[in-house]
Structures are given as C-alpha cells and as structure tokens.
C-alpha cells in the first residue's frame, strides 16, 4: 500500500485529528477473507470515495465502520477501528449509539413503508431527540430541507415514502440519515439505481453536506468519485491498493493497478 499523505499508520498516532482511523482491518465471511489488512484515515468535512472492481470488498469495509456486519452471522471483523479515538469494536461500545453517529445510505433506496414524515421522524423518535411534536416537526423539516426534498414533499408529508420516485426516495433516505444528526455518513453506491438528473441532485447534496459531516461514498463511477470526493481509496481483491488526494489518484496514480482501473483497462 502506498500512503501518499505523510504520517505513520501506527496505532499510537490514532488520537490525531482524524475522525475515523482504521488499522490492520481484516474481515472474514466464515473462512473466506474479504478484507485483508486495510488501514485508512477519514477526516471531517471531507468526502472520501471508495472505488474498485466489483467484489473487492468496498461494501464489506464500509459496513465495518457502523458495525452493520454484525447483522451477518458469518462475518467476523479483526483489527482496530476508531471513531474519535474510541474503539468501536470495544465491548463497551453501544452499537445503537454508534449507528446514530455513523449513518448509512444504501445502494437501493429503502424507505420504510410509512409516511414521508414518519420515515424522517423514525430516527429522532427512537433516539429521543425531540421532546415534543413541535420539535419533531422542526427536525423533520430541517432534515428534508437539507436533503433538498422539502420543496417537493412539504404538501404531502403524510403520503407513503414508497410512493416517491427513486431519486426522491434516495434523498428521503439521506434526510432520514441526517435527521439523527450523525457525524459520519456512509453511502454505498447511492446513485447506482438513479437516472443522471437524480444523480446530479444527490451529488449536489453531497457537496452541501460535506461541510458538516465526514462522508464516505462507494461508487463505480470514476467521474462521480472525481467530482464529489477529496480523497479516494482504491480497493482490489480485499486490499487497499492506493489511498490519497483524489486529484493525485486520478492524474498521477502511483500503482499500475490503480492506473489500469481508472483508465478502464480492467475492472
């Protein structure tokens, strides 16, 4: 692996300014190793893109960060992942709290079969973020506004979330994720089920959200990675091949594998 950014990848330095520090992470599905010794840092107010060929473990690694791999019985995670210096695999770590701090948007829009309002209010309700209906209304409105959906749905908040278009559903899912005021947002190919216009809207949204969160986005679209991210990580066969400033990765990759992938020579 080539660390372009200066600094060591030893654990002692993990209390630096990074939001997330992952060190020597291995993930196994039963005996099969899906992630092999990956170390990475993610900063606040930054968009980090994960790219790489299909099956290289991008989703798997992404899901280690909010411990969604816990829901897969065969998955096992080794290594050290810290959020603000705190080991998230520590038994003392409350998974429920962790997931409130690290939100997630999935590849396929998955609004709950509830009203638009209830979709957004779901997180604040279960985490007790609103003392009364008035506060909840404010959270819902603000989240929808930030997700750029308010104007389109403000008159039909009681309609089912599943009745929206695909792009609207995905923005609803983003609104739902930011309603609990997370610090990190993980997005696993959030645009792959959307048309170019809806995609452009989401990308715009990512730009705006960037100022407040640490965002990690998995994408198969090189242009998208180049457009939205500041740093890019290239995965291949479960290993992190190259990680650095997006502009460097795309204009001056250090590894031939990276070069081949971004120029479309294999994938």
């Amino acid at each position: 692996m080539v660390e372009q950014k200066s600094g060591s990848n030893t654990i002692e330095n993990s209390d630096s300014t990074h939001k997330i520090t992952a060190r020597n992470v291995n993930v196994f599905y039963d005996a099969k190793q899906a992630i092999n010794d990956v170390s990475i840092d993610v900063d606040m107010e930054n968009v980090t893109a994960f790219i790489g060929p299909s099956g290289c473990g991008k989703s798997t690694f992404l899901r280690t960060i909010n411990r969604m791999n816990d829901t897969i019985p065969s998955a096992r995670v080794e290594g050290d992942i810290r959020l603000d210096g705190q080991n998230i695999y520590d038994p003392a770590m409350d998974v429920v709290q962790l997931r409130a701090r690290v939100g997630m948007v999935f590849q396929k829009p998955n609004p709950f079969p509830k009203s638009i309002y209830d979709n957004v209010a779901y997180g604040p309700k279960i985490h007790g973020l609103a003392a009364n209906k008035g506060e909840l209304d404010i959270i819902v409105e603000r989240s929808l506004q930030r997700a750029g959906l308010w104007g389109e749905v403000k008159d039909r908040l009681s309609d089912s979330g599943t009745a929206l278009s695909g792009g609207q559903q995905q923005r609803l899912c983003i609104a739902r994720a930011i309603a609990v005021d997370p610090e990190v947002i993980l997005m696993d190919e959030p645009c792959s089920a959307l048309d170019p216009i809806a995609t452009a809207k989401i990308e715009e949204l990512i730009h705006e959200l960037r100022g407040k969160y640490a965002i990690i986005i998995v994408t198969h679209n090189m242009q998208q990675a180049a457009r939205v991210s500041q740093r890019t990580a290239f995965f291949h066969l479960g290993t992190l091949v190259e990680f650095g400033e997006t502009s460097n990765i795309f204009t001056n990759p250090q590894e031939t594998r990276t070069q081949d992938y971004i120029t479309g020579r294999y994938g």
Binding site: Q97, N110, V180
Partner: protein, 458 residues
C-alpha cells in the same frame, strides 16, 4: 364373471394389444423406411389404450346400472310377486337373496328370500354374459380401430400424449366436481330445511332446542344464534387469544433471533404439532385441560363452572392453531425485504424496535391473512369441541360455562337413528352450509390479503 374378473380380462387383452401394436410398428421398419414417426413403444401404447379404455368406461357404467337391471328382472318373475310390499323388509330380503346368490353369504334369515336365490342367480348369469360379450366386443373394436390406424407416418407419440393429458385433466376435475357436488347437495338439503323451518328463526332465533314435530309459525327450537356465538367465542375469540400472541412471538423468535440451527430444528417440530390428529388434542382438552380450568374457575369464584367449559376447548384449539399462525407470520416477516431491516438497524434502532416498528407493520397484511385462515380453520374444527365443549346451547360470554358450537351440533344432529328427511337431519345440512359459506369467505379474504401483500414486495 364378476366385474373384477372382467377388468382382469380387459388388462390381459390390453397387454396383448400392446405387443401386437408394437410388433406391427416394428414391422414397418425396413430398408426403405428406416425411421418411422414414433417409436414402436408408442404404437404399442396407442393400441393398448384403445383396447382397454372403452371397455373400462363401459364396465364403470355397467357396474352402476346392472344391480338395478338384475333386481328388475327378479321382480318381474311371478314367483317374486308374493314378497312383502314394505319397503324396508323388501330391500332386506332382496339384498340377502343377492348375497346368497353371489356366494358372499351362506345362511338365510329373511322369510321369503330363499325362493329368490335361484331367480337372482339366473338373472345375474344372464346379465353377466351380456357384460362379457359387450366387453370383448369393445376390446376388439377398440383394438381393431387402433390397429388400422398404425402406419409408418402415424403420430402415435402425440396421440398417446393427448390421451395422457386427458387422463390428467380428468384426475384434476375429480376434486373440483366433488366439491361442486358437495356444495350442491348442501344447498339442496338446506333448501329442504328452510321449507320446513323459517330461515328467520334459524338465522336469528336464540332458542336452540330442535323439535321434530314442526308447527308452522311457532318457535320450533331451531334458533342457531347460540351456536354461531359459541363457534365465534371458542374458535375466533378464545382460541385466537391463545394462538395469536404465541404464534406471532414464535415467528418473531424464529425469524429474528434464533440461530439457523435452532430454526432448522424448531420448524419441523412446529409442523409435527400441526400434524397431531385433532382427536388427540380432543382428549387432551377433555381429560387434562377442562378439569384444570374448572378447578381454577371454582377457585376464583365461579362456583357454577362446567366441566365441559368453553375455555378448555378454546385454549386447546388455540394451541392447535399456533403452528398455522406461526408459519404464516414467519413467511410474512421473512418476506419483508432485508433492506427494511438493515435500514432500521443502520438508523441505530435496536432489534426489538426494528421488529415492532418496521417488520411487524410491514408484515401486518400477511399476518392478518394468516390469522383469518387460522380462524376459518378453528371454526370448522370438530373433534376438540365435540370432546371438550358442551352440548348445551347457552348464549353466554362466560368462558367457564358449557357452550356448544355449530360443528358439535351437526354431529349431535346426525348421530343416532335419524330419518333422512327429518328437520333434525336437514338442520345439520343448513348449519353445514352456513359454516361452509363463512369459512369460504374467510379464506377468500385471507388469500386476497396475503396475495396483495406479496405483490407489494415483488
């Protein structure tokens, strides 16, 4: 020759026809025509089917009409004119004479039957020879017809295929036709019932104490409301209070919490529970649960608690229904896309919050469908209530009282010596019809709900 012997004959000839047809087809193959349309085997089957199907159809019809023909012939004889005119003893004499003539009986008890024996034997041998001739004629006619059709380019294969398809169609029609026949007879007998007893009294009356001597315009004790209430109370209320929570909770546990290993053990066990004969549940209810419930009721102050109480029957019926509710709920919960669950968990919801707020609401239509199916099963259930619920038609909401149900009363009305045309017997058909309509509606609604719900996640 008996019908069985004739059948044997038919099959023997069928076998011969198979070989003949096959040999004939094989003889087509020579240097000029190295390939014929169908394999010789198909020609064999074609000939065989043509040789056996017409006589079999004939024999089926014949075995239904020949006894009547034989009896007519016997009665036409002047010697038979002397036997009694009373329908009941007359048919007893006749059937005894026939049994002796067949050799299936040795001794004679009925007076006057002995002189009919030779008449029967004679008539039977007469009609048997007719049957034999007809059967052989049909075998040869069918076989010959098939034989003339065999040619090198004859498509025996597709013809055989067609006959096989007709056979399958017939098999599937049998179930449908039987259902239609049963419904028709239910409707017919129920109609005869309402010509005797006013349907208003039957459907809305509250006094169930059936009398045999019907007086028009009076209360004849055919008010079925207490039965309907008892059925609903036991099958749809008490049983469901037991079955819904336990069924739902076990489904939630199995789909969301248990390890795959445990689930793979538990599911078959639940299915075994569903396969326990209801009569076993019945005596479990009558011998174990009912006394316990009564003792409990007496302890808490219901001194008049009956030993055949509604509670015991309802509880046991609920237990019987648990697997049904559990497996329907299990299917519905498992059908909710995993993305919903992941979405909720990724929001930081706990497992139980996810189940309560996302999975169950999303699975609700399917679960409701399952519950409706369970209700329809419960209200049609007979053995448990016959053994554990009472026969007294009480219109009460006291679960410790003896309450009767529709199915129990159907059994009560039809057991014992009953004239087939009496209002008693006919009332059973009317009750059966009501039960049939209700369960049919429940099933239709349930299936529709479940289907709609499945489509929503397709």
């Amino acid at each position: 020759m008996t019908t069985n012997e004739l059948l044997f004959l038919v099959f023997a000839f069928g076998l011969i026809a198979w070989f003949v047809g096959r040999a004939r087809a094989a003889s087509f193959i020579n240097a000029d025509t190295p390939i014929i349309n169908s394999l010789p085997n198909y020609h064999g089957w074609f000939s065989c089917l043509w040789a056996i199907i017409p006589p079999i159809i004939f024999l089926i019809i014949w075995s239904n009409i020949s006894p009547a023909l034989v009896t007519d012939m016997v009665l036409a004889n002047p010697e038979a004119a002397s036997i009694t005119a009373d329908t009941f003893s007359r048919s007893a004499i006749l059937s005894e004479a026939r049994a002796v003539a067949n050799g299936s009986n040795q001794a004679l008890f009925q007076e006057g039957s002995e002189k009919l024996v030779p008449l029967y034997a004679e008539a039977q041998s007469y009609y048997n020879s007719i049957a034999l001739v007809a059967t052989i004629l049909l075998i040869f006619a069918g076989g010959a017809f098939a034989y003339t059709r065999l040619k090198p380019n004859f498509r025996a294969r597709s013809k055989v295929e067609k006959i096989v398809m007709l056979g399958l169609l017939l098999a599937s029609l049998i179930a449908v036709l039987t259902t239609v026949g049963i419904v028709a007879s239910l409707i017919f007998e129920a109609y005869r019932f309402v010509t005797l007893v006013s349907p208003i009294e039957f459907l809305f009356g509250t006094n169930w104490n059936p009398r045999d001597d019907i007086v028009a315009g009076e209360d004849n004790g055919y008010g079925a409301i207490p039965l309907f209430w008892g059925t609903i109370f036991i099958g749809a209320i008490i049983a469901m209070i037991v079955a819904i929570p336990f069924g739902l909770m076990s489904a939630i546990f199995l789909t969301q919490y248990s390890s795959p290993r445990f689930r793979s053990i538990m599911k078959p066990v639940l299915e075994i529970l569903a396969g326990v004969p209801t009569v076993v549940y019945g005596y479990f209810a009558a011998l174990t649960v009912a006394p316990a419930v009564r003792d409990f009721a007496v302890m808490v102050g219901f001194s008049n608690a009956a030993s055949d109480n509604a509670m015991a029957a309802g509880i046991v019926m609920g237990i019987m229904i648990i697997p049904l509710v559990a497996s329907m709920a299990d299917d519905s919960i498992a059908a909710v896309p995993g993305a919903m669950r992941d979405g909720s968990l990724a929001m930081g919801a706990t497992k139980s919050e996810t189940i309560k707020k996302i999975l169950l609401p999303a699975a609700l239509p399917g679960v409701v469908g399952g519950i409706l199916l369970a209700v329809s099963r419960a209200i049609g259930e007979t053995m448990i209530v016959v053994m554990a619920a009472g026969y007294a038609a009480n219109l009460t909401a006291n679960p410790f009282a003896s309450i009767t149900t529709v199915t129990v009363q159907i059994v009560a009305l039809l057991t014992g010596d009953q004239d087939f045309g009496s209002p008693h017997t006919l009332a059973a058909f009317a009750l059966g019809l009501v039960l049939f309509i209700v369960t049919l509606l429940l099933n239709l609604v349930a299936l529709r709900v479940v289907k709609k719900y499945r489509e929503a996640y397709e």
